[in-house]
């Protein structure tokens, strides 16, 4: 019981810390590629603290609740994702050091649904402000989500059909027994990596909150503590996506440390590719997502289904 409570508190905190740190890292990497020095790693922390002390405007209660919903949803998602640890007894992963407080509820399907809360909360909140920029941003956000969800769902389904389970802990355990997912479902891994920037909302897919075009889109009306919370939400979301990738394809981690190292590798790789690309239009983004990643994921799924049915 105590371990459980500790875990329940621990994993969101880890997500918060690592996520915000990743935001800083992101800026640093881009700066270095641009031959700049860049802000310090802890710059986002400073920003958040500063913004928390400022007063925001509000357009209504949904405007406020949307942010709460987004952040809370992202934090809850973390609870369903294993953050390293070895699974020995699959029936009760909790007892054996897997850092996944709510692994016993619903598996990947729940995670996929909970990942909705972020964009949905933001969309509702931003929608409540009568600002067309926000609405356009939300429209882009939802379309982009639809664009990357198609290959992402294919990837997840391929993985789930390959392991014949919807439980993430189970998937992690199977990888630790018989090789990483990146080897058993390689095309899916590639496809997932290709859409990673879109899921993270980083370049070339940063069109949702493009400051120059639509005044930061959904964030246009937010300021002060709400903006701070949204920044944190972005970090946590980043954490969730990368952690999911590591869990699905890189065999999770035997402990938290290896898990975080793997996450770092994935994140840096994705960020380095993204940093050299320009922002693209939403149509191009949709077309891209539905072309290569979808084709690869589809191929992998077909192979998986065929090999399972033979």
């Amino acid at each position: 019981m105590v371990t459980r409570i500790i875990q329940l508190l621990l994993s969101p905190l880890i997500a918060l810390a690592v996520g915000v740190l990743f935001l800083g890292l992101s800026r640093k990497i881009i700066a270095r590629i641009h031959r700049r020095y860049g802000p310090p790693l802890y710059q986002p922390v400073i920003d958040v603290i500063r913004m928390m002390s400022q007063r925001s405007i509000s357009h209504g209660s949904l405007f406020e609740l949307g942010v709460v919903l987004a952040l809370a949803g992202s934090l809850v998602t973390v609870l369903f994702i294993p953050l390293g640890g070895t699974v020995i007894c699959r029936q009760n992963p909790l007892a054996h050091g897997v850092l996944c407080p709510l692994s016993s509820s619903g598996g990947l399907l729940v995670v996929m649904y909970l990942m909705l809360f972020g964009p949905l909360g933001l969309a509702l909140g931003a929608g409540d402000s009568a600002n067309p920029n926000a609405s356009i941003g939300v429209s882009r956000k939802l379309l982009l989500a639809l664009a990357y969800e198609v290959p992402f769902l294919l990837v997840i389904l391929a993985v789930m059909s390959h392991y014949r389970t919807i439980s993430i802990t189970e998937i992690v355990a199977r990888q630790q027994e018989s090789g990483w997912g990146v080897l058993s479902v390689p095309l899916s891994a590639v496809a997932a990596f290709l859409i990673l920037p879109a899921m993270l909302g980083i370049r070339p897919f940063d069109l949702v909150s493009a400051p120059q075009e639509i005044a930061s889109g959904p964030l246009a009306e937010y300021g002060g503590s709400y903006l701070a919370l949204l920044a944190v939400q972005k970090g946590v979301h980043l954490f969730v996506v990368i952690a999911l990738y590591v869990d699905l394809f890189l065999g999770g981690g035997v402990n938290l440390a290896t898990f975080l190292v793997k996450m770092l590798v994935v994140f840096v790789a994705a960020e380095m590719i993204a940093a050299v690309l320009p922002r693209i239009r939403i149509e191009s983004a949709v077309r891209f997502c539905w072309k290569w990643p979808t084709a690869l994921a589809l191929l992998q799924m077909a192979i998986t289904v065929l090999s399972k049915s033979v």
Binding site: M52, S58, S105, A220, G224, S225, E283
Partner: protein
């Protein structure tokens, strides 16, 4: 006793509401509400009862039977609940319009007929109530006049086609087995070959498919749902199309039975798999057509077709998990689609009939309760965790993955994303953003309109957190249909199914929300501003229209509008147009010249003799 009393009350209520309306509108309203509420109580009181009795012997030489069991009860409670809510909602909605007594009569009659359908113990009374439901619904769909007439006609013509197919199906069974009593048929049905059984099932499927708007037989639905009076749209979408689902379950599982059903397969396909694929297509295409709609009710109508796809998909699998999911989703969809139609109806009522998504906006300021309920309904439709829609969809996904059908699962999951798009569009374009000047002083929806919304919303949340309550009613059905019932706990599922524990998710979510709220509380309180006080790059915010709604998903529309046409509808329309032309051409044989007519007479005589000389027919 149970079913008979319920039906008597329902039919008498319908019949009396008209004459009462001639006496006094108030009495009629109270009466209609009382009857529909009484029905909910009566049905609820019949929980767990089972049995059958003959209520009319010797109708055309057949006995008509009423039957109560778990399946019937489950659908009956759904019907009576949504029916009652729609009657309550109607109190204000139709007040002051023409033919109000007729409206209540038809509405109560539809509900009574649906109760009759689910309590029927033989296929003949099933069919009779089915037809009564069809024509009563046709009258109600036409109630709004104008374009509703086309919708009503389309609906009833397709209904008649469907019921003709059903009639052929059920009378084939009668010709083969000499009974129409479901329990007797279930025993004898295996005695004929699978080819016969398949034919019968296909005939029934056409009937049920048309009623439940299964792709490609759905084309009546978008017109009918959008043109009907909103409370009746709720009934249509919430329960009337579910009668098709009930029919499917009844015929596939209760009548034909699992063993025979699974035997109906050819070299490549089986009956179930065809059904599943139709379900999957029915999820994908209608969902994205819904995204493109600009009429709120039409959007919801297309969404209904998509959601029916989920139900058919789950039901088609003939596994206990899938069937449980499908039945639960049937109930859920009834509740949240009724809620959404009623919410749109409330907006329509207050804005004077506006349901064009490009004309509204910002109504959250004027109708907060309506919005909150619509939000809950929308989230349920998407299947967000902590709403009941999540649990049922989760069961269906789980079935698809466990049975090894990732492509079907893909259709279902992508359909969910489509649902997010259209639900957000609906909510955003109606309730969020800028409140137009002309609606600045709109009143909130009246109490009798808000009440059904709140009831539906509460049900969605309650059953989302404690899915064990409805699943407790679904379990015996699945059991009675020859499948192992799913082991459900009050809060979700145990490890052998899931595991899924909604209460723990709820607790975690509640804690997270609390934590975030605490953090927010620690920081400075926000300053409320007027809607005009928003960022417009330094320009003044235009008072008229500062709300992005038109072509909300423009890039998607550009990419998909060419493919997302209603092919089936175009095809049927073309066939109908061709037939019309053909009929007109055919009429020309009556030329008006009597000598031609005499020629026809002589020709027939000559032909008769010719035929005899050549083929010796006698």
């Amino acid at each position: 006793m149970g079913a008979g009393a319920i039906l008597t009350v329902a039919l008498a209520g319908a019949g009396l509401s008209y004459p009462l309306g001639l006496l006094s509108a108030k009495v009629r309203n109270v009466f209609a509400t009382a009857v529909s509420a009484l029905l909910v109580c009566l049905v609820a009181a019949a929980y767990g009862r089972s049995g059958e009795h003959v209520y009319y012997s010797g109708f055309l030489g057949l006995d008509l039977i009423l039957r109560t069991d778990a399946l019937a009860w489950f659908f009956a409670i759904t019907v009576s609940l949504v029916g009652c809510l729609s009657v309550v909602f109607s109190l204000r909605y139709v007040r002051g319009r023409e033919k109000v007594s007729f409206y209540y009569f038809a509405l109560l009659l539809v509900n009574a007929a649906m109760l009759g359908i689910v309590f029927s113990g033989d296929l003949l009374s099933f069919f009779i109530f089915w037809e009564v439901m069809s024509w009563a619904a046709y009258l109600l769909i036409s109630y709004n006049r104008g374009r509703a007439l086309y919708a009503g006609l389309k609906y009833i013509v397709m209904s008649i086609i469907g019921s003709c197919a059903m009639l052929v199906g059920l009378l084939s069974l009668y010709a083969a087995h000499d009974t129409l009593v479901i329990s007797e048929l279930a025993e004898r049905i295996g005695s004929r070959g699978t080819g016969f059984l398949l034919g019968v099932l296909v005939a029934f499927s056409i009937g049920f498919g048309i009623k439940s708007a299964m792709v490609p037989l759905h084309t009546w639905l978008p017109d009918a749902h959008s043109e009907a009076p909103s409370p009746f749209s709720a009934v249509l979408s919430g329960i009337l199309i579910k009668m098709g689902i009930y029919g499917f379950v009844l015929v596939m599982y209760a009548l034909v039975g699992l063993k025979l059903l699974l035997g109906l397969r050819g070299a490549w396909v089986s009956f179930n798999s065809v059904l599943c694929w139709l379900g999957a297509i029915g999820i994908l295409i209608p969902t994205f057509i819904a995204v493109l709609q600009t009429d709120a009710k039409r959007l919801l109508a297309w969404s209904s077709i998509g959601q029916i796809g989920y139900i058919i998909l789950g039901m088609g699998f003939a596994t206990s998990l899938g069937l449980t999911g499908a039945l639960f989703h049937t109930f859920n969809h009834a509740v949240f689609k009724a809620l959404l139609f009623l919410a749109v109806g409330a907006v329509e009522y207050r804005t004077g009939g506006v349901r064009d998504l490009n004309e509204l906006g910002g109504l959250i300021k004027r109708m907060p309760v309506t919005f909150a309920c619509a939000l809950v309904g929308g989230l349920g439709l998407i299947g967000v965790p902590l709403t009941s829609g999540f649990v049922s969809k989760w069961l269906i996904y789980k079935t698809l993955i466990a049975e090894g059908h990732p492509f079907l699962a893909l259709a279902a999951l992508v359909g969910t994303w489509g649902a997010i798009l259209y639900v957000y569009k609906l909510l955003h374009n109606m309730f969020l953003g800028q409140l137009p000047e002309k609606y600045a002083h709109l009143e909130a929806a009246p109490f009798t309109m808000r009440l059904p919304l709140v009831v539906c919303g509460s049900i969605i949340i309650l059953f989302g957190i404690l899915p064990g309550i409805p699943l407790g009613a679904v379990g015996p059905i699945v059991g009675s249909l020859g499948l192992e019932p799913v082991q459900a706990t009050l809060t979700g599922f145990g490890p052998q199914v899931g595991p899924l524990n909604m209460v723990s998710i709820f607790a975690a979510a509640a804690l997270a929300v609390l934590a975030v709220l605490l953090v927010l509380r620690a920081s400075a309180a926000p300053r409320r501003v007027a809607q005009e006080d928003s960022y417009a790059a330094g320009s003044p915010v235009p008072a008229g229209r500062y709300h992005h709604t038109v072509r909300f998903y423009d890039p998607l529309e550009g990419a998909t509008i060419g493919y997302l046409r209603d092919w089936a509808d175009e095809f049927y329309t073309r066939v109908a147009g061709g037939a019309r032309g053909g009929f007109d051409g055919l009429r020309r044989i009556y030329t008006g010249d009597v000598r031609n007519y005499v020629m026809y007479i002589v020709c027939l005589l000559a032909f008769l003799i010719f035929v005899q000389m050549v083929w010796h027919i006698w």
